[in-house]
C-alpha cells in the first residue's frame, strides 16, 4: 500500500474518525484506525464496536487532486499516535507506505516515521452498503428529530431497549419515539419520496449513538442518506459514513399510552410557562422529586407552585391564552416539563390533561401532529 495525500484533508478525516475510537476497547484491534486505499481515494475507519465512523478522502474532487501515487491496500495503525503525527508533520504532503510485514512509513519533508501496523484482515467487517434500501433527509431536519426525542431515553439499564430511540416508518411517515416510562417524546415527519418505504418497519437506535451523531453533524441543508442493514444503521453524508449497531428486542407499543380524549385543554405561551416552571423548580430541586404543581384558576390563568417544607414556597400566576374544560390540580416533574417545552421550540403550546392521575400531552400550537411530548404526573398528597 502506498499513497501521497494532502495533510489538511487527511487531518480532517482523522479527526472525524477519532470520535469513534475509545481508549478502552473490548477487542485490541479497535484501538487502531483502519486505512483503506483504492483508486478512488483513501478511506479511514474507526470504531468502538457500538458506533463506527468511516471518512473518505477522494483522490480527486472538482479538479483538485488530494491523493496521488496510489497503490491499493489496507492497514491498521495505532490510533494513539497517528493523529498527533499527522498534525505535527512539517510539509503539506504526506507519503504513507506499508510493506508485507505491516511496517508503515510516514514521510513528510525530511521527517520520517516508522510505525508498526496491524493486519487489516483482523479489523471487524462493516456491513456492505445497500444504497437501494435507503431514504434521504436534510441534515438539519435529522438533527431536529434527534434533539426532540433523544433526551427522553432511559438512562437505566434495567430495560435496555428503552435506552434507544424507536424509529419506524408507517403510512409514509417517519417517526422517532423515545420513552423512559415516565415520559415520552415523539416526532414524526412526512417522507417525500415514498416509493421504497418497505425497508424496515421498526428499529431501535441506541440513544448514545444518536447523541454522538448529533455532535458530528453540522447544521446544514445538505442531504443525509439513511439505510438500515440487518444489524446496523448507516447515516451517509458526502464524505462521512456513520454506522451504529441497533438494540436487539421489541420496542414496547407506545401508541396505546397516548390518551385520545382530554378533559382540560390549556393553550399557553411556551416561553412564559418554561420560565415560571424554571423559577418554581429552584425550590423544588431541594426536595427529591423536583415536583411542581399546576392549578387552573379562574379568568384564564394558571398557578405554578412548589412547596418544600424545609426550604419554603413559591407561587406564580401565568396567564394562559385559553383554558377549556374541567378545573385541575396536577403535579409533575419540573425537569421533564422543561425538557419537553425546550424540545417543542414553538411559541405557543397546547397542553391536554385527562385528570390529575393521567398522563398529559404537550403539543405545539402549529403542526400539531408532528411533535408530541407526554409526561406522567406525580402523585402528591
Amino acid at each position: 500500500m502506498k499513497f501521497n495525500v494532502q495533510r489538511n484533508q487527511l487531518m480532517e478525516s482523522v479527526q472525524d474518525v477519532m470520535k469513534a475510537i475509545s481508549s478502552k476497547t473490548a477487542i485490541p484491534i479497535l484501538s487502531g484506525m483502519k486505512i483503506d486505499v483504492t483508486e478512488e481515494g483513501v478511506k479511514l475507519t474507526g470504531s468502538d464496536s457500538d458506533i463506527s465512523i468511516e471518512s473518505f478522502v477522494p483522490a480527486e474532487e472538482e479538479g483538485i487532486v488530494y491523493v496521488e501515487n496510489i497503490e491499493p491496500g489496507s492497514i491498521v495503525l495505532q490510533a494513539k499516535y497517528f493523529p498527533e503525527i499527522v498534525r505535527k508533520l512539517p510539509e503539506q504532503t504526506v507519503e504513507i507506505e506499508s510493506d508485507e510485514q505491516f511496517n508503515v512509513t510516514i514521510r513528510s519533508g525530511s521527517a520520517e516515521f516508522n510505525l508498526n501496523g496491524q493486519d487489516a484482515q483482523e479489523y471487524p467487517q462493516l456491513p456492505k452498503l445497500h444504497t437501494e434500501n435507503s431514504f434521504e433527509l436534510s441534515v438539519d431536519l435529522l438533527k431536529d428529530l434527534i434533539r426532540q426525542t433523544v433526551f427522553a431515553v432511559s438512562t437505566s439499564e434495567t430495560r435496555p431497549i428503552l435506552t434507544g430511540v424507536n424509529m419506524s416508518i408507517k403510512d409514509q411517515k417517519l417517526q422517532f419515539v423515545a420513552t423512559d416510562s415516565h415520559r415520552l417524546a415523539g416526532r414524526s415527519i412526512p417522507l417525500e419520496d415514498s416509493a421504497n418505504k418497505e425497508l424496515f418497519s421498526n428499529i431501535v437506535i441506541p440513544g448514545k449513538s444518536l447523541n454522538e451523531l448529533n455532535k458530528i453533524l453540522d447544521d446544514t441543508q445538505e442531504k443525509i442518506e439513511i439505510s438500515v442493514t440487518e444489524n446496523q444503521i448507516l447515516f451517509r453524508t458526502k464524505h462521512l459514513n456513520f454506522l451504529s449497531r441497533l438494540l436487539d428486542g421489541n420496542y414496547p407499543e407506545t401508541s396505546r399510552l397516548i390518551p385520545e380524549q382530554s378533559k382540560t385543554n390549556v393553550m399557553i405561551d411556551s416561553k412564559e410557562l418554561l420560565h415560571s416552571i424554571d423559577r418554581a423548580s429552584l425550590l423544588a430541586k431541594e426536595s427529591r422529586n423536583n415536583v411542581v404543581k399546576l392549578t387552573t384558576k379562574e379568568n384564564t390563568s394558571i398557578e405554578i407552585s412548589s412547596n418544600s417544607p424545609e426550604v419554603g414556597k413559591v407561587f406564580e400566576e401565568v396567564t394562559a391564552d385559553t383554558i377549556e374544560g374541567e378545573e385541575l390540580k396536577i403535579s409533575f416533574s419540573a425537569k421533564y416539563m422543561m425538557d419537553a417545552l425546550k424540545a417543542i421550540n414553538s411559541e405557543k403550546v397546547n397542553i391536554s390533561f385527562t385528570g390529575a392521575m393521567r398522563p398529559f400531552i404537550i403539543k405545539p400550537a402549529e403542526h400539531e401532529d408532528e411533535i408530541l411530548q407526554l409526561i406522567l404526573p406525580v402523585r402528591t398528597y
Binding site: 446496523q232 441497533l246 438494540l247 436487539d248
Partner: protein, 328 residues
Amino acid sequence: MNTWGDFENVQPIVAKMLENSIKKNRISHAYLFQGPKGTGKKESSFLLAKSFFCKYLEGFNPCNECRDCKRIESGNHPDVHPIQPDGQSIKKEQITHLQKEFTYTGMESNQKVYIIEHADTMTANAANQLLKFLEEPKRSTMAILLTENGQSILNTIRSRCQTMSFKALNTKQLESRLVASGISEPISKFSAALTNDFEEAERISQDDWFAKGRTIVIKLIQVLMEGNDEAFLFLHNDWLPHFKDKDQSQIGLDLLLIWYRDYVSYLIERKDTIIYIDEKEKFEKYTFSLSRDQATKALKKILEAKNKLKANVNPTLVMEELVLQIQR
C-alpha cells in the same frame, strides 16, 4: 488444538458430544466446561466458537484460515467476548458490561459467543447478574463457562448449562511422553503431578525455579522431622524468599502436599503412585517417627493453609502457622 480430531485425542467423550451437537445443529445455549487445569478447556471453547462462526466448515471442522477463524484465534473477533477475572474475581461490572453488549445487535453477524474463564471466581453479584441472561437466552447466543472447580458454581447457573466434564489426562501417559522427550524420571513425575498440560509440564521441567523449590520442600521436611526447632529460621531464610507471592506459595504448598501424599502412599504400599521417587530412603527412615495419622493430619493442615491463602491471609502468617502445626 485446531481440529476436532486433535481434540478427540485428548478428550474423547467431550469431543464426541460436541461434534454430535454441531452435526445435528443442536448446539446448546450454554455450556459449562469443567475439569482440571491443562485439560484443554480454553482451546476447546475457541474451537467450538470457530465451528460456530466459520463459514467454510469442512464437515464440522473449522477451516482455521478464514477471517473469522483467524480473528477468534487472535482475540479480535467482534462477536466473541472472552471474559477473564479482573484480579481475584469476575466483577459485577464485567457482567453488566457483557449484558449491555448483548442488548445490541451483533457487529457482523447475528450470532454471539461469550466465554467466561474461571467462572467459579464470579462474585455472587456477578453470578446472579449472569443468571438473568442465561435464563432468557437471546437468539443464537452461546455461553461457554470454563472452570476448574465445577462444584463452586452456583447451582442455579449449573442447572442452566450443559455440563461437559473434562477428564484429567492420564498422568502416566504424560509422564512417559516427558521421559521420551529426554527429561529424567523424577522430574517428569514431578511435572506431571503439577500440571496436565504437556507444554506446561515441559516448561516446569526446564525451570530452575521449580527444581530449587523442590529441594527447598525436601529440606523443610527434613528440618521439620529432625525437630531441632529450626523450622522458623528455615522458613524465613529459605522458603519465603523463594516462594514470594501468593501464587508461588500455592505451588510451594502443592509440593509439600505431594510429599505427604507420597509418604502415605508409601505406608499403604502403593509405591507406584509415588512422585518423589528419589525420597524412598527418607520415607523408610521416617516410618518410625511419623505415623499415618500424623501424615494425614498434616495433609489436612496443608489443604487448610491453601484455602487461607485463597482467602487473602498473609502468606508469611499462613506458613508460620502451618509449620507450627505439622512440626514434630
